[in-house]
């Protein structure tokens, strides 16, 4: 099982699992950059995707896939962390480093609002127990 992430968005707390086995380098870069805070933008062509910019590049292309509901991916072309929060037709294969495992419904509710109200804050951090273990 990969390391777990906590996603805080609006009033919701969600969990995602990192895909360390298929995207080890991406996961390592993301892990080192945690916590990641951002302001969400809604995708304009893909129907159910939000993203936020991060201040680094991930040039390694690992686990490129046709994104599905619950996927967390990275678009290096604009240094953006993408969250596919419901069924959609993506524009292409995207390197994917994590999957939402708990409370995707809550995440989807909050993310859907970004279309009307962009700039919603999001925080992605290491799940408490992992963080505590790493610091012990």
């Amino acid at each position: 099982m990969g390391k777990e992430l906590t996603i805080l968005i609006g009033n919701e707390e969600c969990t995602a699992e990192m895909l360390n086995d298929v995207a080890p380098r991406m996961c390592e870069i993301i892990e080192r950059a945690l916590p990641l805070e951002g302001l969400l933008t809604h995708a304009k062509l893909v129907d159910r995707e939000v993203f936020f910019q991060v201040p680094f590049f991930i040039d390694e292309v690992e686990n490129p896939k046709w994104s599905e509901k619950g996927d967390l991916a990275f678009w290096n072309g604009r240094q953006s962390l993408c969250i596919f929060y419901d069924d959609c037709t993506p524009l292409g294969y995207t390197p994917t480093f994590a999957r939402v495992t708990q409370n995707l419904e809550g995440l989807a509710r909050e993310a859907a609002e970004v279309w009307e109200k962009p700039g919603k804050r999001i925080l992605i951090k290491a799940k408490e127990k992992w963080h505590a273990r790493a610091n012990s």
Partner: protein, 148 residues
């Protein structure tokens, strides 16, 4: 010296990362044809997005191929000059124009392709960030309804 200029660009990016840049307030005051505020926003995001895409491509090409640094420098300088003038002119994005001009200044001190990649990467991060800020101003949902 490249390093001190690079540090200024990084500091500028950090200062606008989570806090709305002063450029945004200036852009909000701009009016286009028929005294409306939509086209300045739409054109500003288009022009910021263009440079962000160009810089990202220049960075990728320089990482992946044995390109000629002097040629890359000439191409990049021309792009930075053009877009700095655009941003600082009609759109009132004077801080953005200043950072892009810092990029031009830094470019003259770049000695290696690695330094070039670092510089265009930093500029790409800043310009993309500005583009995201402008994107927040555009009422995409309402715009979509009008176009239905």
């Amino acid at each position: 010296m490249l390093e001190p200029i690079l540090e200024q660009i990084i500091a500028a990016r950090r200062s606008i990362w989570m806090n709305e840049p002063a450029d945004i307030a200036r852009l909000r005051t701009k009016r286009g044809a028929r005294n409306q505020g939509a086209t300045p926003l739409l054109y500003a995001t288009a022009k910021l997005g263009q440079l962000a895409v160009f810089l990202n491509h220049l960075r990728q090409v320089s990482r992946q191929h044995s390109v000629d640094l002097p040629t890359m420098r000439i191409i990049t300088d021309s792009l930075l000059e053009f877009y700095a003038n655009q941003y600082g002119g009609f759109y009132g994005l004077t801080d953005t124009a200043h950072v892009v001009r810092l990029g031009r200044e830094a470019l003259a001190h770049v000695q290696t392709l690695d330094e070039y990649v670092t510089l265009v990467g930093e500029l790409a991060l800043y310009v993309s960030r500005m583009d995201y800020w402008v994107d927040f101003l555009i009422p995409w949902a309402k715009f979509g309804q009008v176009c239905n």
